[in-house]
């Protein structure tokens, strides 16, 4: 039916812009029939955009998509797209309240007539057997575990007749043995002639299941190569590129005799991380690096009391706050910048001054009253210290830009002059100048004698750290002192080099 010489999938010269940001800039990918092709790149490289273009959910501004040499279907022709490409998304599209069988044949349970449930279950069993998925078709999908749900998605995706399937970070939520089983399955599908595009942040996985790899960086195509011909370090440097001039970290001497202000001992949270020891001294900044599933955010959130650890202890400033109680950690002298500023960082309708002084409201007046003038004065000082661009302390934080809102969150964390500071992804989605102010504020705090833990996906942020702990699958695998190169750190983070 199709010309065997043309690649299974080809995206040529794709450009896609969202407002001022360019998500893909003249990028492309060519995937040969029957191969498993990896697409790698750091966050923001344009991988997700390419996925939505290859699945027909978004239209490129320029460029074209070909399946087996023929142009892709029209955007509205969902069935046409489905018969060409299937995708297992990061976010589950399984409906938990329906049975496995119904999820498999959602919206195509029957034609116009009544549904024959017995026949539907039989069809589902056939489909599950065909792909070797051992799940009862009559079970509620919500009772399945993550791995089973994913298998269900793969089987459903393939049931539309597509011979090309995109797996968007399928291993991110799976544990070791489940990843092994997924790889077995991918190899079996490949033996059946299925073409796959595999997205992962773990480079070792790329070497294990893929034949070719394409690297995207900053919305551009960087290289495509056979996996066997590309050494690890070349792949890592293709992903990171030349280190761009970023924030200049200050020189700082840490005092090895300074007291430990933030510590963790044998801390374990099932499914996130296990047996982590950590001690941060006054005046020291310790970075936590690792991929999304490494457990670094879970660890940091346990330190501030957002999670109750299964075992182990947290010490803040010499005391032991009640596990799982944020306010007790804050009382002990901890400042906290949460990961998602919109969800946990600020109250958008309240003013800058009010947001920034929430943790110290009790110090701004007597008998539970809050003095507006004291609050205003404090707010003004913070605006000045962090160079927040605003009309004044009374402006609601919801009206500020991302970078300035994040500065308010930082101001709040620093309001009570904390002895210990936990900062998670402080520079996510902020511009360069805000980034400098935010990192500067963390360094200022350290100079005043606070000990800080900085969690970030941005390598540049971690430059201000005196040492970086790299986590991989829930464990600290390496401690890297100041002066590391991007390639070193990425290699450890991606699990290529865990020496």
């Amino acid at each position: 039916m199709s010309d065997t010489s043309s690649p299974a999938v080809e995206a040529r010269n794709i450009t896609k812009r969202y407002g001022p940001t360019t998500a893909l800039d003249d990028a492309g990918i060519t995937i040969a029939e029957g191969e498993t092709h990896a697409l790698v790149g750091r966050n923001g490289a344009g991988k997700s955009t390419l996925v939505s273009i290859l699945t027909g959910l978004q239209r490129p501004d320029a460029g074209r998509v070909l399946f087996a040499g023929r142009p892709a279907p029209a955007p509205a022709d969902r069935d046409g797209w489905r018969s060409n490409v299937a995708c297992v998304y990061q976010r589950s599209t399984i409906i938990p309240t329906l049975t496995v069988a119904e999820n498999l044949f959602l919206n195509r349970q029957a034609g116009r007539g009544a549904i024959n449930w017995r026949a539907l279950r039989a069809r589902a069993r056939d489909l599950l057997d065909q792909y070797g998925v051992r799940v009862d078709a009559g079970r509620m999908a919500g009772d399945l575990d993550v791995e089973q749900r994913q298998l269900l998605e793969i089987a459903r995706a393939l049931s539309f007749g597509a011979r090309f399937i995109i797996l968007d970070e399928p291993t991110a939520q799976l544990d070791g043995p489940a990843i092994e089983r997924l790889f077995e399955r991918m190899r079996a599908l490949r033996a059946q002639g299925v073409t796959m595009m595999f997205i992962s942040h773990h480079l070792d996985e790329v070497y294990r299941v893929c034949q070719s790899v394409t690297v995207f960086r900053d919305a551009r195509h960087v290289l495509t190569s056979a996996v066997a011909e590309l050494p690890h370090d070349e792949l890592v440097s293709a992903m990171t590129g030349e280190a761009a001039a970023g924030y200049q970290a200050r020189a700082r001497a840490t005092d090895a005799g300074a007291p430990v202000v933030l510590g963790a001992e044998k801390l374990t949270l099932a499914g996130r991380y296990h047996d982590v020891d950590l001690s941060v001294r006054a005046g020291e900044i310790v970075g936590l690096a690792g991929s999304g599933s490494s457990g670094k955010v879970g660890l940091a959130e346990t330190l501030v009391g957002l999670h109750v650890p299964d075992s182990g202890t947290v010490t803040v400033n010499g005391t032991r706050p009640r596990p799982g109680d944020v306010s007790s950690a804050l009382r002990a002298g901890l400042g906290f910048v949460p990961r998602d500023r919109h969800k946990e960082g600020f109250v958008p309708l309240l003013s800058i001054a009010e947001n920034a002084t929430l943790p110290i409201a009790h110090k701004l007046g007597r008998f539970g009253a809050v003095s507006p003038s004291l609050r205003r004065a404090k707010g003004e000082r913070m605006i000045e210290e962090l160079a927040i661009a605003t009309t004044g302390p009374a402006q609601p934080v919801g009206d500020l830009s991302g970078g300035n809102a994040q500065k308010v969150v930082m101001a709040r964390a620093l309001a009570d002059e904390p002895r210990a500071l936990v900062v998670i992804d402080p520079t996510a989605g902020v511009d360069v100048r805000a980034k400098q102010a935010l990192l500067g504020a963390v360094e200022d705090a350290a100079e005043r004698g606070a000990g800080a833990v900085l969690v970030s996906d941005e390598l540049d942020d971690l430059r201000i750290c005196d040492r970086v702990l790299v986590m991989f699958h829930g464990q600290v695998v390496k401690e890297v002192p100041r002066g590391w190169s991007d390639a070193d750190l990425v290699a450890v983070m991606e699990g290529v080099d865990a020496r």
Partner: protein, 346 residues
């Protein structure tokens, strides 16, 4: 970074183990059983009723219990559909009053409290249903097109519709109604009140549609995960809109039956019913979060509440106390439902 890892690692039947299949079969049977969870309660209530008052088991009393619940059961049918689709409608109880009041107002002369149009009486029933459907369509417009919260929209509509009825009728009950308008509410077909037949048919159609037809199943899909339903090609807005229109239609039908049974349109017709509607739906296993519950369960919820009400009356509980006891029983029933289902209710 997603947080889907919360699924307990100890969930039964890891893939590859033959156990998965057997435990799965058990889950299916259990799910079926949950549908019937209220049947023992209904049987128990019937026995209690018979012990307290022998007259309880008489055909007349049972028919009476059923007929009194027909209006409520139509509203619960409407609400259950909307809740399963993951939405909310509080305005149903006001439609119960406004739809018949406005329809009647267009038929009867000004002297009887009408609006002066004096349209032919034959239009009464179609008009009433049309008004209900229009209310549902308007709710759908605000919720789906303008993306407003269903709770607030229908709360506003609850007040507006009640106010419209009072404004149009001057707060008066309407008595001089055309015979044809009263027919459905007090006719008897094959020895049973017509309203019971109408309810039975409505539930039968609903149960079959939601159980065995693609469009009915799509309501569950939308309530369970609207994005996934859309990704599977379900026209989610169109289905939701239809559900709101059907909801309004059923509420108007309930109003029509109530009008026929009582022989007039009271100014406060349907007032306060929405609380019982929600109680019956939730007792019957419909989840306020959407995606879960069956119409059969909701019907059982109505029957449980109806029987409790009847037994309290027959047992001679003083009228001043019935409301407090009734409310208490609803709370106990909810707690029992929570304990048996083992999952938190939102």
């Amino acid at each position: 970074m997603t947080q889907t890892t919360v699924t307990s690692p100890g969930s039964p039947g890891s893939p590859g183990s033959p156990k998965g299949r057997t435990s799965g079969g058990g889950a299916v049977r259990l799910a079926r059983f949950r549908d019937l969870a209220l049947v023992p309660a209904i049987v128990l209530l019937v026995i209690v009723g018979a012990l307290i008052e022998p007259a309880f088991l008489s055909g007349d009393n049972l028919t009476n219990v059923l007929q009194q619940q027909t209006e409520l059961s139509l509203l619960v049918l409407a609400e259950a559909l909307i809740l399963i689709a993951g939405k909310f409608d509080l305005s149903l109880e006001s439609t119960v009053g406004l739809a018949p009041a406005l329809a009647v107002g267009l038929l009867i002369p000004v002297s009887a409290g009408g609006l002066g149009f004096e349209w032919p009486a034959a239009l009464g029933i179609p008009l009433c249903l049309l008004i209900g459907a229009a209310v549902g369509a308007f709710n759908g417009l605000l919720i789906l097109r303008f993306k407003l919260s269903a709770f607030i929209v229908t709360l506003g509509m609850l007040i507006v519709l009640r106010g419209l009825q009072i404004g149009l009728t001057g707060g008066q009950n309407l008595f001089a109604l055309p015979e044809s308008f009263l027919y459905l509410g007090n006719a008897r077909w094959l020895g049973l009140p017509a309203s019971i037949w109408i309810c039975a048919v409505a539930y039968a159609v609903g149960i079959v549609t939601l159980g065995y037809f693609r469009h009915g199943r799509s309501i569950y899909a939308i309530g369970g995960n609207v994005d996934a339903a859309r990704a599977a090609g379900v026209r989610t807005d169109r289905v939701l809109w239809t559900v709101f229109v059907i909801g309004g239609l059923l509420a108007a039908l309930a109003g029509l039956l109530m009008t026929g049974r009582l022989g007039s349109v009271a100014a406060g017709q349907g007032d306060g019913m929405i609380f019982t509607v929600f109680a019956a739906a939730v007792i019957g296993g419909v989840v306020l979060d959407g995606g879960k519950g069956t119409l059969f369960g909701a019907l059982c919820g109505v029957l449980v509440l109806g029987l409790i009400n009847n037994i309290l009356t027959l047992a001679g509980v003083s009228a001043q106390w019935i409301q407090a006891i009734y409310g208490g029983i609803i709370l106990i029933a909810l707690m029992l439902a929570r304990l048996t289902s083992g999952k938190a209710q939102e």
